[in-house]
Symmetry: C2
Subunit: 315 residues, 2 copies
Amino acid sequence: MPHKMMRMRRAGVVRGRAQRPSMLAIAGDSAAGKTTLTRGLIEALGPDRSTSICVDDYHRYDRQERKSQPFTVLHPDCNYVAIMEQHLQLLAMGEPILKPVYDHSTGQLARPQLVEPREFVIVEGLLPLHTKLARACFDVSVYLNPPEEIRRDWKVGRDTKERGYTTEQVLAELDRRESDSASFIRPQRANCDIVVRFSPIPGRDDPPDTPFSAELLLRPTIGHPDLTGILSEGDQHAIHLKLARDEDGRPVDALHVHGYAPPEDSAVAQKALWAEFGIQSPPPESLGLLADGQRSEPLAITQLLLLYHLLEAAR
Amino acid sequence: MPHKMMRMRRAGVVRGRAQRPSMLAIAGDSAAGKTTLTRGLIEALGPDRSTSICVDDYHRYDRQERKSQPFTVLHPDCNYVAIMEQHLQLLAMGEPILKPVYDHSTGQLARPQLVEPREFVIVEGLLPLHTKLARACFDVSVYLNPPEEIRRDWKVGRDTKERGYTTEQVLAELDRRESDSASFIRPQRANCDIVVRFSPIPGRDDPPDTPFSAELLLRPTIGHPDLTGILSEGDQHAIHLKLARDEDGRPVDALHVHGYAPPEDSAVAQKALWAEFGIQSPPPESLGLLADGQRSEPLAITQLLLLYHLLEAAR
């Protein structure tokens, strides 16, 4: 047996080591904003240098089969978690994978697709941070944590417009999923480097069309850019940094990006941030684009920070 | 980056090392007898201890897409060879795979299947020995090498009976494949441990219902059981061993198993072989069963020898 292992290793080594990509995880519940966040990053990095996968493709059962299962798609037993871990490891090592495909429109499992890793790989979905081995594959990880009532609005909006469900069906499904969501999705918040929350600022009486603000908890689990310099100087209208305690009492930097700030102020902050990252070109224009074509400066600044981490991991 | 690799390694090591299966490759052209050979082995080993996969599932294009391709399914470019190599390595390391599925009845690529390695894994198909890395994954490898005219008969018989083609269609397809077969399938003969040829014995005038004989070239690339003792003693009516030169001049043992021998003689030889392998129980009854329900003693002896190698690799 050791003989065979050695033969495999030697035969594999001959082809040299593949380039290892920078890997970002974006975890969060259904309709938490994962795809919107991902889209702007891929456009900024360029599709020739980056690729994204959704780990919801690792569903073990199709929609029909799930009807006789006691759990929802949020449950790890409803997904090929061991295969997801394996594929994340392969991608992290720079190897291609033949990724399963779940077709949301038909609810069926379809023909798999070849995914070749690029310089930057973004992995989004319900459970990318569920296991220790999966988490170990990422250079930086994000948990999207909107207030539940906002996520419910987003899910009703999307699933009625794009997936052909009625509002009643979506609300019933949300109730059915609540237990699995609490058990398996939300615990991932504790296992990421950055917690992102888009929401109105509590206590402020902004007009209803004010863009959502963002709160980013920057955990010391990875090295964040030093924001104290630029953010303590001059106007902090658009963005400010505050030392805080996390839910579990651990120290954390809370970066607040104000949706009510005028876009000009936000643009100044973005340019200063971008320059601080040591990049000469202007910030990519794809950042901050919402699904409906509107712009969100807090989203743009969130994406800027993630770009920084992806580029930093590639060094 | 080294940090992430170390995290992945540590997170993976925690779960301990999976048991590594004994792996047998059975390569050969379409209708060479791979499935028949495999079926008896899996039944003998027991489906709880063994599993088989067909690497023709790694086709890159479905039947419709292939119509606009310049090559046939025998061509490596028509298959996900790098993914096949990856999956063979994973199985050899005792890891599960999510295997693609090609549906022969519809010609479409379907939903993939989870394959968990067992103690014994048999990998059959058109190209399992095509690359060095794939070959390195096996403990023992076989190339099925029937005379072309016999294989053509088998293919016409099967494809007209089981796959709904006309004789003319099958013959035209065989012609279309000939060039790829010569370039990619038959070269695998040079890269296996055992070459198996079922055919009538040239020069003998046996009645037409005489079972085919088997010639097994046993290459010194692996350690074969010592057959000189039992086969030089007493009756060699059913089976004999002859020192020979391979096509390329290298020394090889040629084991001849005579289809014209009475089954009783073959049974004696099988028992002697089985005892020589050091196994107490009688030889499994599933050995030697043909697709049509008939028995072939030369097939049974071929399968016995492969069982020996699978069991030996597991020690």
